[in-house]
């Protein structure tokens, strides 16, 4: 088979459905990465237009442009759109598009999950935009502090759109994070050890792990606030044992890491693009990886620095002030490594490099003002002023938008296969750079003069008029610059000439293919022995196109790739991908029905939607089942590997493990909330504790002990060729017993809308009951698979996955039961 025949055959196997319909059934990372990026930039335009409206409003004193009600919606939606609908999805889109190419594999770990995540994002984002068009958009600020956003003070549907819409969108972020984590760890080219990974993959891995542990506290906060608004459970009402500070803790437990979740992928772009622009290699690869890890962890210890003015004791403030200053060190390590890279290379001022220089200048200023606000006395003065708004824009625009523009121009020839010839980009960069600094330097100044953030207008005698006008003029220059970049990109896509492959002479693997990238990505998979593979093997692209790598011969119309050992990159298993399907869009639509039902308070459709999701999830996984044992497959170069369905640690197991990591963070945040209310909130102890029951506790704990033991035994029986059916049924009995105890906790919880304690018991019981229902569903699924001949000693991958869920449910169930029953049992 020659290269052209191979290309045609692989394209036939991997291509999406033709035409418009293909958008809805594609599961290919090339399509979905582009769809994510285009949608994210659409939201960027929306957020940008909202920013212009803000600047119009503030350009003159006593502005009558928008009344306070509309203005509140405008600034809330600007922050919300930029943070949740632009920044994070842009990272997801870039990672989804680039990672398989950089890692030397054909797709991400779970292609249908990628599609599901995209549609959840598109539908959730659309909900918020529709709300805005109808004038009922969220209006409580992008961090939605109660009591302002409680039902008492914000009785409309506006806040519900935020709480429910953002939670819907966050499903997408969690899905992408699981996808990226498993892909980076397991889906790499043979012999690509962790030490040989491209630097962008390290950043993507760290960011994905941060999303898995950073987003759940916000999801929890949104659930609790929506429960308070919809059903009167008083988690944030001080007079009923709640505390509005709990929201601030949960929000900023997410919100501060979020800043680094946005910055780190951009830093990954810089670490990738800068060495190419400087004709050299990255200086201090190990230092940069270490700094990124340190930054990720330290960012989780900073959340209270957003709460310096809430009356926390000085020692508490000092902990977070110290952590906030420390975070500058790993950031500085990266900056110096990049400066060193420029120093040792020969920088060439191509357009991506201009944006990188824009990043350096802007982000360093943002970092320095960050150190200023980390100092408590200064923060007390600057808190909630325009100075903070200016600081965060220096960090986020400098630390994300400039690097992303650098990335857009760097990878544009890869996306399109074309060569830039319009020179609008250079002028656009100049306008963006000047416009940005005029806008936000002025905003620092007016903030120091005392202008509070989010005010709808001000009086001439405040003395802020000239500065605000300068800021508004700057913002319009910035907007013109960004519009020119978008026009430049569109002109490039539509009209530019075909370009050569690898126009930058880069050394990373994504350039070892024809551009635009084919649906199958690599005709055969490379063996990687160097961190800069194209520098070691300049003809690698040709050799891979000839099928000289692994899996070079298409067969059985399979979409196939390899998974490897995490550390060494040694090939471990042969993986078959699913084909195009509309299941992801259908499932996200039904998921959307669930959220929409909650939003519109059509509660009778909620169980319908949950049943629909369960049915589709069942169908989703059932389709992966195999009815015949799988022999080891030859993958080329004399290597034969087992199928992923025949190993204990399949990709599904890894995906489950990381999903449960996010779930455990959610549960941990719930326990933190309980402990916080108990120890800090006024109005405790509650009027009545939960009445303990030795019987229910005993039944629940026995069930929790029985279920994992039984499923473990079933796994062993299956592996030895026996019949696991009876022990799986035994595990189901254990789950039912645990479910009974958790449901009883919900049923007997003290009246939940009279005190936050009762509300917490209800949520804890609900969490346990929901998880026993999921474990029960999975146990039922396993039983059905056994009965239908989908499992054998060879096809064993489903057992450890169900086992993980059962163990998790049991462990959390025991904690829930002890937390509920023990206080009443202890005299």
């Amino acid at each position: 088979m020659n290269a052209l025949e191979r290309h045609r055959k692989l394209t036939e196997i991997w291509a999406s459905d033709k035409g418009f319909k293909g958008w809805f059934s594609t599961v290919n990372h090339n399509d979905l990465g582009r769809m994510f990026l285009v949608t994210a930039f659409f939201f960027f335009i929306v957020g940008g237009l909202l920013a212009m409206l803000i600047r119009v409003q503030l350009a003159t004193p006593h502005s009558a442009f928008a009344g306070p009600e509309i203005y509140n919606q405008i600034f809330t939606m600007h922050g919300t759109v930029m943070m949740f609908l632009f920044a994070i999805p842009t990272f997801e889109g870039l990672a989804i598009y680039l990672l398989p190419k950089m890692l030397g594999t054909r797709d991400l770990a779970f292609p249908r999950l990628t599609a599901y995540g995209f549609w959840c994002y598109a539908f959730g984002g659309s909900m918020l935009i529709v709300a805005m068009l109808f004038g009922i958009a969220p209006d409580g600020g992008w961090f939605m502090y109660p009591p302002l956003t409680s039902a008492i003070h914000s009785p409309g549907i506006n806040a519900d759109f935020w709480l429910i819409g953002i939670t819907f969108v966050e499903i997408s972020a969690i899905a992408a994070a699981v996808e990226i984590t498993v892909s980076v760890l397991k889906y790499r080219a043979p012999s690509m050890s962790l030490a040989k990974m491209p630097i962008f993959a390290w950043y993507a891995l760290i960011t994905a792990l941060m999303i898995l542990t950073g987003f759940p506290p916000l999801i929890l906060g949104s659930v609790l606030l929506e429960l308070e608004r919809a059903f009167g459970l008083p988690f944030f009402q001080v007079d009923l044992g709640g505390d509005s500070l709990l929201w601030q803790h949960l929000f900023w437990l997410f919100g501060h890491p979020e800043v680094y979740i946005i910055f780190l992928p951009a830093a990954g772009v810089i670490s990738t693009v800068l060495p190419v622009m400087c004709r050299t290699t990255l200086l201090g690869y190990g230092w940069i990886v270490s700094a990124a890890v340190a930054l990720a962890f330290l960012s989780f210890g900073l959340w209270v620095h957003h709460m310096f003015t809430t009356g926390i004791p000085h020692m508490g403030l000092a902990f977070f002030s110290a952590a906030s200053t420390l975070v500058a060190v790993p950031t500085g390590v990266q900056i110096f490594a990049w400066i060193g890279t420029m120093w040792k290379g020969r920088p060439e001022l191509h357009l991506p490099m201009l944006h990188i220089l824009g990043f350096f200048f802007t982000f360093v200023i943002g970092g320095l003002t960050g150190v200023m606000v980390a100092v408590v006395p200064f923060d007390w003065q600057a808190h909630d002023t325009a100075f903070i708004t200016a600081h965060l824009h220096y960090v986020l625009f400098g630390g994300f938008v400039f690097p992303i523009f650098a990335g857009v121009y760097y990878w544009l020839p890869h996306f399109t296969g074309r060569k830039r010839f319009f020179c609008l980009g250079e002028l656009a960069f100049a306008l963006v750079f000047v416009g940005f600094h005029v806008t936000f330097l002025a905003m620092h100044w007016v903030g120091l003069l005392g202008q509070r953030r989010r005010i709808p207008t001000y009086a001439p005698e405040d003395g802020w008029t000239a500065i605000n006008l300068i800021s508004s003029v700057g913002s319009f220059i910035l907007a013109i610059g960004i519009a020119m970049i978008l026009v430049d990109v569109v002109l490039h896509i539509v009209t530019a000439h075909r370009g050569r492959r690898n126009p930058w002479n880069a050394t990373t693997l994504e350039w070892a293919m024809i551009t635009p990238a084919p649906a199958y990505t690599f005709a055969s998979l490379p063996r990687i022995t160097w961190r800069d593979p194209l520098s070691a093997e300049p003809d690698l692209a040709v050799s891979l196109a000839r099928g000289e790598g692994y899996l070079g011969t298409p067969r059985h119309n399979w979409r196939e790739t390899l998974a490897v050992d995490i550390a060494s990159g040694k090939p471990e298993m042969h993986v078959l991908y699913p084909a195009n399907t509309r299941l992801p869009i259908l499932m996200s639509a039904v998921t959307g029905l669930f959220f929409l039902s909650l939003l519109m308070k059509f509660y009778w459709t909620v169980p319908l939607a949950m049943g629909g999701v369960a049915f589709l999830a069942w169908k989703w996984v059932w389709g992966l089942g195999l009815r015949q044992d799988q022999a080891v497959q030859s993958v080329g170069h004399g290597l034969s590997l087992p199928n992923a369905a025949t190993v204990a640690r399949s990709p599904g197991w890894w995906g489950t493990a990381f999903l449960l990591t996010a779930n455990a963070t959610f549960f941990g945040a719930l326990l933190f909330g309980f402990a916080f209310l108990w120890t800090i909130a006024p109005g405790w102890p509650p009027p009545a504790w939960f009445t303990p029951s030795i019987f229910e506790l005993g039944v629940g704990i026995s069930g929790a002990a029985l279920a994992p033991l039984a499923i473990r035994h079933a796994t062993r029986v299956n592996e030895s060729g026996g019949t696991p059916f009876p022990t799986v049924i035994l595990a189901l009995c254990g789950i039912v017993a645990l479910g009974f105890a958790c449901a009883s906790l919900m049923w007997r919880a003290p009246t939940p809308n009279e005190h936050a304690y009762g509300a917490t018991m209800l949520v804890l019981g609900g969490y346990g009951t929901f998880h026993t229902a999921i474990s029960g569903l999975m146990g039922g699924f396993l039983t059905a698979q056994i009965r239908s001949g989908y499992t054998s000693a060879n096809r064993r991958a489903a057992f450890p996955i169900v086992g993980l869920w059962v163990k998790y449910t049991s462990a959390t169930g025991v904690i829930i039961l002890l937390a509920a029953h023990l206080p009443g049992l202890i005299p």
Binding site: S290, V293, A294, F300, G301, H314, G316, I680
Partner: protein
């Protein structure tokens, strides 16, 4: 996965001890303890916790430097040790207010 755990363990322990001591501080300030030999018990408890946090980091750092437990790959060995130092420095610096500031003011 062991390789990844080697990198994550020290900062994870820092994060746990940092959060735990912050929580402990809140608890101690809500429920005043009796002084022990004229020394405020809250401060003694927090200083002990600070000591334990630093000791844990020193032990982890020693483990990460020990040939028996160190990562086999050069880069991962470097990154895991750098993370170990990050954990230790972060513990010393971010929890230093325990010894420098009044406890419940």
């Amino acid at each position: 996965m062991t390789e990844v755990l080697r990198i994550l363990i020290a900062p994870l322990v820092w994060l746990a001890s940092f959060s735990a001591i912050y929580g402990l501080h809140g608890l101690l300030c809500q429920n005043a303890l009796a002084a022990v030999a004229g020394f405020p018990a809250e401060r003694a408890v927090l200083m002990a916790a600070y000591g334990v946090a630093i000791a844990l980091q020193i032990i982890l750092l020693w483990i990460l430097h020990h040939p028996r437990f160190a990562a086999p790959s050069g880069l991962l060995r470097f990154v895991s040790r750098a993370s170990g130092w990050t954990g230790l420095i972060a513990s010393v610096w971010t929890l230093f207010p325990v010894v420098a500031l009044p406890t419940c003011f």
